[in-house]
Amino acid sequence: MILENEYKNPLPEILPETKQYWEAAKRHELILQRCKTCGQIMYFPRIFCHKCLSDDIEWFRANGFGTVYSYTIIHYQIAHKSFEPDVPYIYSIIDLDEGVRMISNVINIDPFKVKIGMRVKVVFEDVTDEISIPKFEPV
């Protein structure tokens, strides 16, 4: 039996490096890392700083706002078939206000109205009991 609300798309796996990130997402908080040695801010989570290789890293909460850096409207999906019923949808690069870049979807808008430079804010989709996925919608 297929449950009607079963989430069909790929899911992240919760592992030691990313555990805090997904736990925060569950609370609908977007968190980032900062290197305490050189100040580098990082997305996605890592166990050491990709700039200076220090492992002295802290988490902090992002303000949740960003700007669309680039986007594409996916019209055909043959690579990851589970997304096929979702077309057309936006797959985009968001520049977070903290200065890091993030791949995400822009939702709650007609995909044909998305523009580069558009201000967006994070929203969370609770896709399973454990996982909430950060996405963005127009401010």
Binding site: L15, Y69, T72, Q77, F83, I103, I116
Partner: protein, 278 residues
Amino acid sequence: MDAKQAYEYGLENAVDFERDFDTIYGPMIDNSAYALIKQRYKYEFNATEEQFASVVVNARYHASKFPNALLKNLVTVKDVLDSRIICDPMHLFEIVMPCTGGSALILASSKQAKILKNKPVYLLGGGQAFDRGMWTPAYGSNPSITTSPVKKAAKQAFDMSDLTINDMDFVQLYDCFTITVIISLEDIGCCEKGQGAEFVEKTDITYKGTLPLNTDGGQLGRGQPYGACHFMHTVEAARQLMGRAGQLQVKDAKFGLVNGNGGSMANECTLIFGNEIP
């Protein structure tokens, strides 16, 4: 933990960053990655779809004359723009067609090459540059996705060969998508950043022109035999420099440039070839 335990822990606990911070958002592999680059390029430099389409028109023109090409029918700018959108703003005809094929070169020392039967081609310079290990252009070290590591790779290759872009009689550029060609042209120094789209529209890039580009039709014309496709640009460069390019022969070709690209403009390799050592 000892080395074996550490290895096993790693296998068990390795984060699949590609999946967890990209695939969950539904990319369409390389199509969406290059579409992101093209969209940004259009935004920054006001490039038009017609300009992008002229890369395809040129590729198909060469392919129509190339014996082993897959897509031998000529197309117009309008045909390209009328082809369906796969990942906006990428049209179907701006995307390579997979096919089977192979490529091979025979390598020898320059001393040995002199006594062989065929006219030799010399590798005069090479360069390689890398930006990231992931598909998506979002997670690179370069803050701009419209400038590529080609810039660094080409500089290394030119420095090694003591030649410049003005010495090149043709260029064979990796052309998985139209945007790849336009950014590569800028980054090897054919024109200023942001002028590549206008360059391909206003320059004669056929084998008879001022800067012959992808004289065998490139991947957009002759097809993309994945894995062999990077090398095919090198084979075509060798063919041109040996004078064996048939009706697509660039007249008096002495020097040529080849660029190979991987991972949505993430890693690049540029080579300079000549049929003489300058």
